[in-house]
Symmetry: C2
Subunit: 404 residues, 2 copies
Amino acid sequence: MIQSIQTIPGGTVTSPQGFLAGATSASIKPGTQRLDLAMLFSTAPCIAAGVFTRNRVAAAPVLLCREHLSEGKARAVVANSGFANACTGPEGLEDARETASLAAAKLGVPKTQVLVMSTGVIGVPLPMERIREGIKRLSLSPSGGNELAQAIITTDTRTKEIGLDFELGQTRATMGGVAKGAGMIHPDMATMLSIITTDARVDPAYLPQALVQAVSLSFNMISIDGDTSTNDTVLLLANGLAGNSPIEESSPHRQVFQEALNRACLYLAKEVARDGEGANCLIEVCVEGAASAEEARAAARTIVASPLVKCAVHGADPNWGRVLAALGRSGAQVDEGRLEVFVGDICVSTGGRPQPFDQDRARGLLQRPEVLLRVCLGLGDGEARAWGCDLTEEYVKINSAYTT
Amino acid sequence: MIQSIQTIPGGTVTSPQGFLAGATSASIKPGTQRLDLAMLFSTAPCIAAGVFTRNRVAAAPVLLCREHLSEGKARAVVANSGFANACTGPEGLEDARETASLAAAKLGVPKTQVLVMSTGVIGVPLPMERIREGIKRLSLSPSGGNELAQAIITTDTRTKEIGLDFELGQTRATMGGVAKGAGMIHPDMATMLSIITTDARVDPAYLPQALVQAVSLSFNMISIDGDTSTNDTVLLLANGLAGNSPIEESSPHRQVFQEALNRACLYLAKEVARDGEGANCLIEVCVEGAASAEEARAAARTIVASPLVKCAVHGADPNWGRVLAALGRSGAQVDEGRLEVFVGDICVSTGGRPQPFDQDRARGLLQRPEVLLRVCLGLGDGEARAWGCDLTEEYVKINSAYTT
């Protein structure tokens, strides 16, 4: 725990110096009035990195971001909700390219330094006429982060935003972030849309590593439904306006920066899991004593993604057998005689056997807004945490009628 | 299609010669009156094979079956519902062993030739007093197959039974089967409880191979919820009373026997999928043109298990983008430009792009009791089919309150 990292009340993606944002209602889904088109802009050049879906059916904006990030530089991000611009063929890629070009012309920056993100229904071409008009109308301000956060959500019930500031020696720097989640979320990839900004100066060679580390502990450890999106994207933009000496692998302040980044990603990832489609609670699964860290990760992810575990939590049912069944198919080594399972602080099973416990108290713990399930394997030092949410009737309702 | 294989109306696990069965209500779950303890017995010695869960947390009856099948012989099976005798420690294995011994004493057969199956709640010791009494009370008859089928179901809404007869040269032989399914079902393993019986004479070296092939095309291609049980077991018992010359790898009649076995397993597996917890329909996913058969299997299984695809079918929503998103994370090679997606006979996407189609007709096809989704990859000869069911609010309700 690094004490100098502090949360900024009301902090968001425009909290760091030099970042502006804005959003508009472009009626991307016909008939809707909500904010659905947003832009983020840095007044100073940024170095940038991204982590993207590993789905082999990758959306056009993902393809364009990968192309534009090949030089590791960016000035702006255009994001829309409503349609995902996925499974839209070569025309979809042209649409993404045109979106970037229009934003570049408006902002006076090279088009290859504009990144694009889309989320929403797959397989519908973007309504470019309305996007062209929307981009014209967009206006930017240093307090526009919340508007951007609103514009990118879909079935989310609330925005996900964070701001942190931290000391890099004598310099104070800031980091901001937004994310959207809700459905088609699973740890097999970067997981949804998120933008992290910072005014810290960071060495371009180090930035992508820092992002990969933070994502592996956060966005890649959440699951809402086991489905992985064609559009998952996490972007990190650093404009250097804080004026610190550049952070690189060997910097004395690397650890502070990495922890701020980890903390921002973890906060946003947990907010995404907590606000999963139809969810009533956040589930945290902690696996300890696994034979390796990799096995601990596999076990934690499998347990938190199990529909039966998620239903049991929804029903406040301390049905720990489902936790062990999920553990058993995770690929992690298991010695039943050494197992311990906890609901919150209550041990419900030891040595692979039932353990008498206070059912009412366990039910009470499962009805809290944050539920902790802990499994100790007793085999080694591997530890991991994963996050998800309960599975409710509402999830099914939302997803039975999404395009209609 | 082998013409000589015919379905026996009302056929079940006691249809083949020499197989008797019976069931009783042992109140294994206190207060219940339903049939919950059953026995199958062959009047003649059988060769036997089994396919079991690959979950590392395997239930006591699975451990005992593996031990007893090491010689490939069996005379009887005892099965119970209510409690799964999983995560019950060494005492659970002793309980399974005692169950087998009591049945062996009653039937006058070696205890190592009695197999045991359990299904139900994990982590609760079997009520051995009631099981001892139940075994005493059990009576067997050549028409007892349906009682056995009733006794092994849990959240199933109906029994799954089949009988087939077929010609092995001049001899007519019979095969019967039962299964139970409903929840915790996923193709990572043998999938639930099923017993297949036959009076055909089969070479002991060939029997396990035949079962593995049939299971790989049937039980291992269904998914209800992606969760894999600690108790999944498929048993095959052959008592040879038909008197045919033994079927082995090189027999002229091997193909007839294998197809009868495939057909019995496939029928039961599809019945299990169709009757998934809360399900309204059977979903069949057909993948064609994959780079390999293995990739086709992975793609079909991933698509049929996707919660978002299952919800879309439930909502009669031809949201084919979810099919492609699932395909993209399945590990199968994909060239978006060559893809075609069909709902029933309607092409809804070609070349990774939307394709105009009759929405109302597609919705109509998605409201039928059997829904076909077909994906053509255009890359090779790999083909596979997988089966599942829609995801409904009812699934969540059932699984939020299972132990309570």
